[in-house]
């Protein structure tokens, strides 16, 4: 019943393709990629659209809100229990993430969430989600 504590999060692997995503995260903004050839959003961000292979992909500001598609709370073998989840953003893409700053026993599929940014061990912050 304890609210989740912050755990040590490893630094993400930043590369030229996702650099703008993590630069934005450092400023507290969530970006997603949109393909201007086929119109689809995708995540994680790629240079080539995973729907049509076009290289005409652009960064867009995400609203930062969504709902929990599915989740699992890890308690065994980890120093601090945490909740891994897929969140479906309002833009329609699924994001593999953690649900944080809440009672992990109360996390439910379909719950509305909003993005928060959590510091990492020596890298840029990563987007995670908390119930609204």
């Amino acid at each position: 019943m304890n609210p989740s504590q912050d755990r040590k999060i490893p630094a993400p692997a930043v590369n030229p393709e996702n650099q703008p995503y993590f630069d934005a995260a450092a400023e507290g903004k969530l970006l997603i990629k949109k393909c201007i050839s086929c119109g689809e959003f995708h995540h994680y961000p790629r240079a080539l659209c995973p729907f049509c292979f076009s290289d005409q992909t652009e960064w867009r500001d995400a609203k930062g809100t969504g709902s929990i598609y599915t989740h699992s709370v890890l308690r065994r073998g980890v120093p601090v229990p945490y909740c891994i989840a897929y969140v479906t953003l309002d833009e329609g893409v699924n994001v593999l993430t953690n649900i944080v700053d809440c009672d992990l026993d109360a996390v439910k599929i379909g719950m509305k969430v909003r993005v928060v940014f959590k510091p990492t061990d020596g890298g840029p912050p990563v987007p995670m989600f908390t119930p609204v």
Partner: protein, 115 residues
Amino acid sequence: MSIKGKACIVGAYEHPTRKAGDKSVAQLHAEVAKGALEDAGLAKQDVDGYFCAGDAPGLGPLSMAHYLGLSLRHMASTDTGGSSYLIHVAHAAQAIAAGKCNVAQENDFCEFSQE
């Protein structure tokens, strides 16, 4: 039993980039995959087999299929250094002959040491 004549190479692509400081490894794999498909006159929806070695990021063919948005029936990731890719061609031909897949994509990527 011979698999001679059961499979053929229908497309190829060599990435023009030599020093790719502005691209991720997955992106290079993807751009090569796209180029080979265009050379073959095929779409990515046609690809149902994928082969790559240890130079591919993450979990190899699993991660690359996710990156590329491929829907696969067969994948393999034999890693024998620089000879991986010749073995992939043989394995792809065998997989096609055995009916495991129809269109196999093989990504050969040599990463030279960075300065």
